[in-house]
Subunit: 363 residues, 4 copies
Amino acid sequence: MSNTIGKNLRVTLFGESHGEEIGAVLDGMKAGEEVDYSLIDSLLAKRRPSGRGETARIEKDSYRFVSGIFNGKTTGAPICVLIPNENKRSSDYDVLSSLARPSHADYAANEKYLGFQDYRGGGHFSGRLTAPLVALSGLVFPLLRKKGMKICTHILELGGVKDRDLVYSSLTDGEADGLFEERFPVLDPVGEKMEEKIEEAASKKDSIGGVTQTAILHLPVGTGEPSFDSLESVLSSYMFSIGGIKGIEFGSGFAFKDGTGSTMNDEFYMDGDMVKTKTNHNGGINGGIANGMPVVFNCAVKPTSSIGLKQDTVDFKKKEDAVLELTGRHDPAIIRRACVVIDAMTAFAVADSLISSFGKDVL
Amino acid sequence: MSNTIGKNLRVTLFGESHGEEIGAVLDGMKAGEEVDYSLIDSLLAKRRPSGRGETARIEKDSYRFVSGIFNGKTTGAPICVLIPNENKRSSDYDVLSSLARPSHADYAANEKYLGFQDYRGGGHFSGRLTAPLVALSGLVFPLLRKKGMKICTHILELGGVKDRDLVYSSLTDGEADGLFEERFPVLDPVGEKMEEKIEEAASKKDSIGGVTQTAILHLPVGTGEPSFDSLESVLSSYMFSIGGIKGIEFGSGFAFKDGTGSTMNDEFYMDGDMVKTKTNHNGGINGGIANGMPVVFNCAVKPTSSIGLKQDTVDFKKKEDAVLELTGRHDPAIIRRACVVIDAMTAFAVADSLISSFGKDVL
Amino acid sequence: MSNTIGKNLRVTLFGESHGEEIGAVLDGMKAGEEVDYSLIDSLLAKRRPSGRGETARIEKDSYRFVSGIFNGKTTGAPICVLIPNENKRSSDYDVLSSLARPSHADYAANEKYLGFQDYRGGGHFSGRLTAPLVALSGLVFPLLRKKGMKICTHILELGGVKDRDLVYSSLTDGEADGLFEERFPVLDPVGEKMEEKIEEAASKKDSIGGVTQTAILHLPVGTGEPSFDSLESVLSSYMFSIGGIKGIEFGSGFAFKDGTGSTMNDEFYMDGDMVKTKTNHNGGINGGIANGMPVVFNCAVKPTSSIGLKQDTVDFKKKEDAVLELTGRHDPAIIRRACVVIDAMTAFAVADSLISSFGKDVL
Amino acid sequence: MSNTIGKNLRVTLFGESHGEEIGAVLDGMKAGEEVDYSLIDSLLAKRRPSGRGETARIEKDSYRFVSGIFNGKTTGAPICVLIPNENKRSSDYDVLSSLARPSHADYAANEKYLGFQDYRGGGHFSGRLTAPLVALSGLVFPLLRKKGMKICTHILELGGVKDRDLVYSSLTDGEADGLFEERFPVLDPVGEKMEEKIEEAASKKDSIGGVTQTAILHLPVGTGEPSFDSLESVLSSYMFSIGGIKGIEFGSGFAFKDGTGSTMNDEFYMDGDMVKTKTNHNGGINGGIANGMPVVFNCAVKPTSSIGLKQDTVDFKKKEDAVLELTGRHDPAIIRRACVVIDAMTAFAVADSLISSFGKDVL
């Protein structure tokens, strides 16, 4: 527990990296929404390893919906998506039955589940489980788009290379659509340099982290709730369910420490009959509630924990020191693939907040 | 919605800054725990304005428990604490009925609640509501302490002045106890300098932000859950319910962007028969689960939004530009007072996670 | 746990029979709804002992709202109502610290809470706690009424005396309004006879049970959810939170055992352009979903457990047999007072189901 | 929504009668529990049509676990079970796309889901969906049994034929075990007569209802919670998720109306050092909390709504009166098959209540 999240639009997740199938259930979807299979395909394609140096474990991700879809449309009943696990090489992971990969859940899981966890490929903790989440998000994006909302994520910083910061510049709808579809989503022409940094890490059998930035455009004023369902609370709890994310900041976030009220407050002004703010240090959220400006947040993504270099560790069964040299497949950076997962989790969080604040018909 | 948080230890919050009373309900407490009134008094004292330049609105915080306590002990029934609002000067806030204070919830709340919200002093969005939360936390700390756990928060950075970073150094139990009781909690002798920075901001009718750092010592391995109830998800959702917090990072957090797997992975080793990690970049959490190392996280605290300087804004009723000059009482920095609130929310989050993972008897 | 119920309109309950105050919090109310104090007064009056032979413990029920109401209207923030406990005679209950009243929670509570529960007057288990629930329901009824819905409860059977059965006859809106306001709610002229039965029980220091029947008129088709949030699931879970209710049946309920599909199925027909059923054996619910017919359900109310006659019991501290002779105040029948509590819980259940199915604006 | 139930042991349900597969997810199971496949087989066998006159739709129920099981044991991760839908004859149900079967969800679902629901065989509302629930319950029963608890359900009354009533007589552990395994579970030799009544209904193309009775033996004193998670609230909300159940009563239930406090209160006495009650009118529950006596409750099961006789109905698309003559397969009584479903839902409810009250280690 708990592998279910959401109040009015609920996602339940199950599966292990090396089981027969992984899947997720989406409950609370409106009836009558057409399934856009090509959108789902493209989202899954974006999540798949494709870049220079990314893992050689290629999954076809041949998802299928086993419920909740009838004649190509949602029925209102819970939607279960299943994705088979193909191209497994479980023997790569035999070592994990007793050696803890540093910064992975192996050791903590072993203690928690008394040694009964499925350790192959990280089991239930594997990033592989984001695939069904991404597939289901393909049902939610169209709802948000129809109401004019856009969600997109780009790589804000990686290996010292920085992209344009949306806290301090604006984003057009067209740019947002572009980012959403980009394999390697950046705004400025920094992708090439970033991919070089990734290749560089790969060539050293090492890995590299970075920072993503997500924008939600045209979220209605008033979305979110005071106290415990603040937009920040909701979004952060969804984001931290993604493995490898270790920080989140809204608007100027940690940069608030270097400013003062007079430099960091977002002054209001009238733009025609619209209330706007001159700056967006608060990332579109005041008191937990959307204020109509773009919601902007950054996520810290750690370097892939799996690296090819030798590492010290312990054998948690024998309770002795050990050395680990991973030979399995792994990405030198998960940040590119994390973008579409962040988009997916953002879509669930936003849709649930919208329904909770305004009711199902808001979507 | 939703002013209730927690799965097995639940907190419900109610009240407005200028109502008769504010309060909170704690449900799920064990029966038979003695109430430590002096602890509660000292926590509330720590939350009260006391520092140089802090708000002149002094609240006695004469809390009372109206349920769940019998003969000085918890009964197992829900515990409601009430705190009267004294020393209100509602007329200070008349202006808020139509002028939006920049970076406050006023405007968003007005849109959300169609003008019916209690706007006085920020109403339900006021930081005043943290008082009953702090009071109730005084019932939870003793449970955690009995089992050897410590929670403490210090000011890691303010106005360019930095305290010792617990991601990169260790903390003794004695130091943790010390911090917990400190009015202005810092580890190195930097408090004086920080307070000067706060006074400086105050003297300019301005405000200042900073970063807090929280440590949880001796949290049992295995606390937390995979997927959506990861320790990071749970802690962040509690933290972002505190007004003014705009970012959270676990362990090295955003600094992960500047490292590689080989420099940032936490290698395991045997310390006697204990499994430990050489470094703690992951802040004690792997895959959402406590790994036995200290849990360490930082929160970005923005400068107090209320400042005495003139600010541009809008009159959201008349829908026109306006100028705001606040004359009410406010702190030039909320960070000192935020520390004990963060401790309180951490206590609730940790206790709920512990009970959810291990059952009530773990506490 | 758990003293909170509801998904989108949430009620949290706290207090003990002999504490200073009891109360409840309602979260999720629309903003801008005028408070109808006279309605609340009349609901509380209906709940108060008033009948022949009813308890002499008269409570003024001088409730006050401490949050969520501003200028006489709801603000959208959580609404806490508090009711002081007056006219307590705790000494009446000293005996309960060790003697279990038969059919009361005393013994089970003592085991559960290890002797730390507030035993005075049943503590947190007291029927007294229904008062704040009834008070809060006074905020919900107007919302339902505005949309044309009616909720009312009458005594269907007591001491062999039967009132008209709404499964087998219809109820006009006017009759529903009448019942809702009646101190002793019955449809046929059977009230006098029923009150005689109650007096008869009282004269023997005994008590008497009965059956209530509740009708919900004009609930929109489609309210309720499949599987676990069926209308029956939701309504029953609210009803069984009321002490003394030991059974619930929808429509023909237990009488289904004596019929067949051909006699008990509700055939559909067109009434103009409205779909209706010829009979209403299913009590307006098919597959957990409202079908547009009146929702009708019955509750079994047991005789008041507190009686003046001597009863065998145990001293649960000394672990020995004992005899109990209650001298405290108690009603010979709670069924009359239960009606308004059932109405209140029905209002919460219906409003939450409506919001969950259709969104806040349905109300 | 909501197809997820439970606080600490959660079940999520998905699927439609004529989809490829149906399934359910169980989250919160302990790690390391051996899967008893033969128990699951026997539970599913019990749920399958087998009796005289029961539906000819034979399902092999070749379930498979796709997650949460590793090396034949539970891992602690969520367990998804899938069951293919075989032997579908969807054309039997074409008529349901516009004709409402009386007492079925067809019409209400059509209004709720705007015509987009999967109408074949009742879709998501089909009793077929109880199969994965029964399969998963096979993982929970062993946990309860290990701690000495027994759950069993028998047919208390059908067609005027009555079995022994456990409110007024006791049940040995051996009898409970026997009932649990019985295809047609009754205590007295009344099964033959009851099956005759069912055959009689079948021969008339009609159907018949009845009453089940469930006993939970050796449930620890203190299980359950005050207010909204009373054992009655929890059990009833699980039971009413089963199609065809229209009433529930605990202990003497509706018979309380014919008694008085003096005849219906359960007096306590010491049985050695155990506190017991002389009678069990309250069905083992006082104030929502288990008192250590057997928990006993009855469910009203309506006659199968699907009958072969001609019925009046409406065409809900054309909005006109119509006549329906069902030719599909259906049982003349679902009560025999309902028993194992009730057992399953009781197991989930009891396990969740136990964990919520005492923590995971109670099981």
